[in-house]
Point group: C2
């Protein structure tokens, strides 16, 4: 449950932004956007006027939305004829999330609200959500704590000779029993993510996933994450998993190996730790995201691993960190072209990784909160490679 | 891998439909649509002209797309300036999937292809995919066989006193080890699904999910499926799970109980079996979907359970079956308003269920293939309630 104060604070932040853009209100139809403002993820649309009370219009389940949401005006979804009159007649400029709303949805609302103008507020919406409240930071820390506890247990269930898939199953089983909600929300078009990656081979570490490591997966329809490959001696195992608790996603990566790692991979890993330390120090309000990325690339290059940073040559991702919260791919992105300053309370997964073709994948990932003192680690267990006998 | 013949057959079916609608071609950008025609689910866009060879334009990973797809023209995604010239100049009317394409995506392509007309081909696309090829029916049967094998093992891991969540974790663990790919694709806006439902309480069986039973879930952000409620004696446990193998989804439900079921619930269950038997007989080409739904409602009403059919009073879903394949919610839908005839080779999950407030949820679900002899069961294990000591 989110409190009325939490909901009101989010809504008033949005209303200030709408006012600044000269908009009369916004309609949100994407489930997690509705949840953020209304505290319920039932099938509903929320109208938030630039001033005054929002209206939550619910398709299914109205009873459940009323139980869950702290809002006061919660109604059945109006008929097409009545929809226009649910909104104030003077609301002519309406914000809408063009990043996730299908064309059919915009057409549906635009037809009912003929004569009013729709304006894309996708970036504004994502910017608001990137800054977490105290309540949200607590949720993120709790998510990070539970996920961390599963990572700490990996040496108890990771066995030499098991398939990547077996390791994934063992990890996911424990995560689920610990209350993991499972479904990892992503906003970007064309992305999908099932819980995490258990990858031990550097050979097929690339794919559609916007990240350094994809994994081979189980088929061409699910070409990411664990495969049927067997985990063998002296080959690092990369575990990159998300925990979802009360909707809040923590994201972390650790490396495990039976025996030893190749010296080149160890050097790459040490470089990843160095990059993470640099970024953690700089996760302060006002620092420009793009500069962090370019400096991370610089460290990788000076370390002699520039062409293996964030993916194998030709498949390199152009980022080193991403906002995370109710979605896995929130703002800000620590990436080229992202010339915006960090803000206190943003939560960011920092994930410097290296792919050394033929040898394997190594790296580190933790979720941090931006603060005046630098990044506060929300996934607070040791970073080093876990060596198993 | 899909073969060149399989891909060519799908593409030529589409081309005939495009020709019939006077379109010059279609652009597909939704991952599973691209996969269906191209055999790869990398991040790519496919141009399929009304006649001639398709072009697969790949953002990431080009190398992997080339390994996976049987198509011949596979290229890097063009720059914005070059995109228009990748398509034939005479292609002026272009099909696009407005049901799933975000507004930003349509705007992106419409800007690059200024002067050309975009036409919504969402229904056409779903209709084509609803009819499965021999290869696809084999995939569906394999998916149903593996999923069935997990259901047969439930008595070995379902324990009195465990939480719904524990049961979900045990089921999902075995499904994953058996090769389950996990991510269940849904097309409908505002729907999400994480593998399945393990629900023992009738109290919170409603929610945003378009189905008879939602489950309470673990939080307001994930309000479906297993909760922390404990499984107790004489209360039926409903397990509704999807298996995803090589992308193909099978969908089934079975009921388990420690001790006995309330006689009213047993009557409701028997009625579900009766409705399923009726529907299975009628799953023949030419039969109208809506009539099947209305007749199912009639049987439920005559049995005295009309107000509890497909959900509790006030929360009833208006369907009794749905197409299933690469997505959980394919065409056709056995629902009111769906006045189209069944076609041979369509695969449909039939799921008559009843919710008796205060007592529990019961029902059955199997995936069938439409054939001249009626529905062929792809999830072929006994339907009855499993009574545990």
């Amino acid at each position: 449950m989110i409190t009325r104060e939490e909901s009101e604070s989010r809504i008033s932040t949005l209303q200030r932004q709408l006012k600044g853009k000269g908009l009369d209100g916004a309609l949100f139809i994407f489930p997690i956007d509705v949840y953020y403002f209304a505290g319920t993820r039932q099938n509903a649309t929320i109208w938030i006027p630039v001033a005054g009370e929002p209206i939550l219009m619910v398709r299914k389940s109205l009873a459940r939305a009323r139980n869950e949401s702290p809002l006061t005006d919660i109604r059945p979804f109006p008929s097409s004829k009545e929809f226009a009159s649910a909104l104030p007649a003077e609301a002519l400029k309406i914000g809408f999330t063009y990043d996730v709303a299908p064309v059919q949805q915009l057409n549906f609302y635009a037809k009912m609200l003929a004569g009013r103008e729709f304006v894309d507020i996708s970036p504004l919406n994502r910017e608001i959500r990137s800054v977490k409240s105290t309540f949200e930071l607590q949720q993120m820390k709790r998510s990070g704590d539970i996920l961390s506890s599963i990572f700490l247990n990996v040496p108890g269930f990771l066995k030499e000779g098991m398939r990547e898939l077996d390791l994934a199953a063992e990890f996911e089983y424990r995560l689920r029993k610990a209350g993991g909600e499972g479904y990892v929300r992503m906003r970007a078009y064309n992305q999908e993510f099932f819980g995490g990656l258990a990858v031990s081979s550097g050979a097929a570490s690339y794919g559609f996933l916007d990240g350094a490591v994809s994994g081979k997966g189980l088929s061409n329809t699910s070409p990411q994450g664990a495969s049927l490959e067997v985990i063998t001696r002296n080959v690092p195992v990369l575990l990159d998993y998300c925990g979802v608790f009360n909707g809040y996603i923590s994201d972390m990566t650790r490396i495990y190996v039976f025996g030893a790692v190749d010296p080149e991979l160890q050097r790459a890993f040490d470089l990843a730790i160095e990059i993470q330390a640099y970024l953690q120090r700089e996760l302060k309000p006002g620092v420009i995201c793009e500069e962090l990325f370019l400096n991370a690339v610089e460290i990788a290059e000076q370390g002699g691993f520039g062409d293996k940073f964030m993916g194998m040559p030709g498949e390199q991702a152009r980022f080193v960190g991403h906002g995370v919260g109710l979605e896995l791919d929130e703002f800000p992105v620590i990436a080229q072209g992202f010339k915006v300053p960090l803000q206190s309370g943003q939560t960011i997964a920092i994930e410097p990784k290296f792919v050394v073709p033929g040898k394997g994948v190594v790296g580190i990932e933790n979720t941090f909160a931006v603060s005046p003192q630098g990044g506060i680690k929300m996934t607070d267990i040791p970073d080093g490679i876990t060596f198993l006998p």
